[in-house]
């Protein structure tokens, strides 16, 4: 009798925990499904959807310059998924990508011993883990980004922290991203507590809030504006926007981290960007990453 009671109690406790864990990401799952639905609808047929999504484009432009019938996974390569001419240039550059030396440099950094004999490999025995960042550390009650985790590894071994935007940090992340990609991993962000769900919601609010002297939100360009042309470029989609970092941007002339790009976006809105490892930056990244859940990791990559 007693064992039955214990078993029943344990079962109830486990079920409750499982149900709670599932409910913490319920809103995020809904957001993700709606985002996929939106982008698939928008790029089902840009010419046909002109009035709804592309009121400022010409019919000729929509007919000849955009791909159509796009599905969820297609958006992993950003605007190259729908911008035909840019896609051709992208594929040409990918034949001899400019970041190959960075990957090699990253591998060296990964294995290079610190003064104490340990290395980054000691902190991250499996380098194929970029798909789980940022994650919510329940003990520390905060989000941990990959950039932060790498610098914490370095400094906890008595070394000086790296620049969080480029250089060694980007090279190491390029190596780790490639390992993750080659392992066939997909973005896998978890929300398993109330605190994590709240962090996600704050990131979402940051993404959709208009800011800076231009009063733009991230969504202005990358949700409602995605695919619309600004001068000669088509704006990239929110969906899949974090699957391919670090990125070699032709504008930068070198490899940079996702924080570098997000800072640039906030700066373009006309506001001082948050620090790379601040709560705001990690929450923003957390929201964006969750929306890209289940998409293949394909970093490092190139962008204009």
């Amino acid at each position: 009798m007693l064992s039955r009671i214990i078993k029943s109690t344990a079962l109830i406790a486990l079920t409750t925990c499982a149900l709670n864990a599932a409910s913490f990401n319920a809103q995020a799952e809904k957001d993700k499904a709606e985002m996929i639905k939106y982008f698939e609808a928008k790029f089902q047929d840009p010419e046909k959807n002109k009035n709804t999504f592309f009121p400022y484009s010409s019919e000729d432009e929509l007919k000849n310059e955009y791909s159509k019938g796009l599905k969820h996974d297609d958006f992993g390569i950003g605007s190259y998924s729908y911008a035909k001419d840019a896609r051709e240039q992208y594929e040409a550059i990918k034949e001899m990508p400019p970041y190959e030396d960075d990957i090699d440099a990253g591998e060296v950094l990964y294995k290079k011993p610190f003064a104490n004999g340990k290395s980054i490999a000691t902190c991250f025995p499996d380098p194929a883990i970029t798909n789980i960042y940022p994650y919510f550390d329940e003990k520390r009650n905060e989000l941990i980004s990959l950039t932060q985790a790498i610098n914490e590894c370095i400094t906890s071994n008595g070394e000086k922290a790296w620049n969080t935007k480029k250089g060694d940090m980007a090279s190491l992340q390029a190596y780790m991203a490639l390992q993750t990609q080659e392992a066939g991993k997909k973005v896998d962000i978890k929300i398993q507590s109330k605190a994590a769900a709240e962090a996600y919601e704050r990131g979402k609010e940051y993404y959709y809030s208009q800011r800076g002297y231009l009063k733009l939100s991230c969504a202005t360009c990358h949700v409602q504006g995605a695919g619309q042309r600004v001068r000669n470029e088509k704006l990239s989609p929110m969906l899949g926007s974090v699957t391919h970092w670090p990125v070699y941007r032709l504008k930068w002339g070198n490899l940079g981290t996702v924080e570098r790009r997000l800072s640039g976006c906030v700066k373009d809105q006309g506001q001082v960007p948050p620090k790379d490892t601040s709560a705001e930056m990690k929450e923003l990244l957390y929201y964006m990453s969750y929306i890209s859940n289940d998409m293949a990791v394909d970093g490092p990559d190139i962008r204009k």
């Binding site: 809030s209 800076g212 002297y213 409602q224 001082v272």
Partner: protein
């Protein structure tokens, strides 16, 4: 008695700065003719400090609003008619503005950072597919 309590509460909230962000009027607060440049600059400093604390400070062409404020302060000391604020990295920027206009902009940026953040609290959901954004 109730009315008096409400008035006192409103005054207390206004004084503590809790209500001001949604009630500030850029045109009125930053009017150089009506207020004079010193007062406009003081307004800019006050609200920019708050915007900065909340992570909302504006930056235009590498110049943080606090850099613009500093350049106007300097111009008021020297009597310069034009300012050349420093970038956020502390280097000379490409921005060159008439001192009066720079004071107005600094004030406008400081207040707008706060008012639009307040406004965004009720508008941000309007852009979310499946929530406020319908297509």
């Amino acid at each position: 008695m109730k009315k008096l309590t409400l008035k006192i509460a409103s005054i207390a909230l206004l004084t503590s700065g809790l209500l001001h962000a949604s009630t500030l009027d850029v045109k009125k607060e930053c009017d150089l003719k009506a207020n004079g440049i010193e007062k406009v600059l003081a307004t800019a400093k006050k609200y920019n400090a708050e915007a900065k604390k909340k992570g909302l400070e504006f930056r235009r062409l590498e110049v943080n609003n606090s850099g613009l404020i500093e350049s106007v302060e300097e111009a008021l000391k020297t009597g310069a008619k034009e300012v050349n604020p420093k970038t956020f990295k502390g280097k000379p920027s490409k921005t060159k503005l008439a001192t009066d206009y720079a004071a107005w902009r600094a004030c406008s940026f400081a207040i707008s950072a706060l008012t639009q953040a307040e406004e965004a609290k009720s508008t941000w959901r309007l852009a979310i597919p499946g929530d406020g954004y319908k297509y």
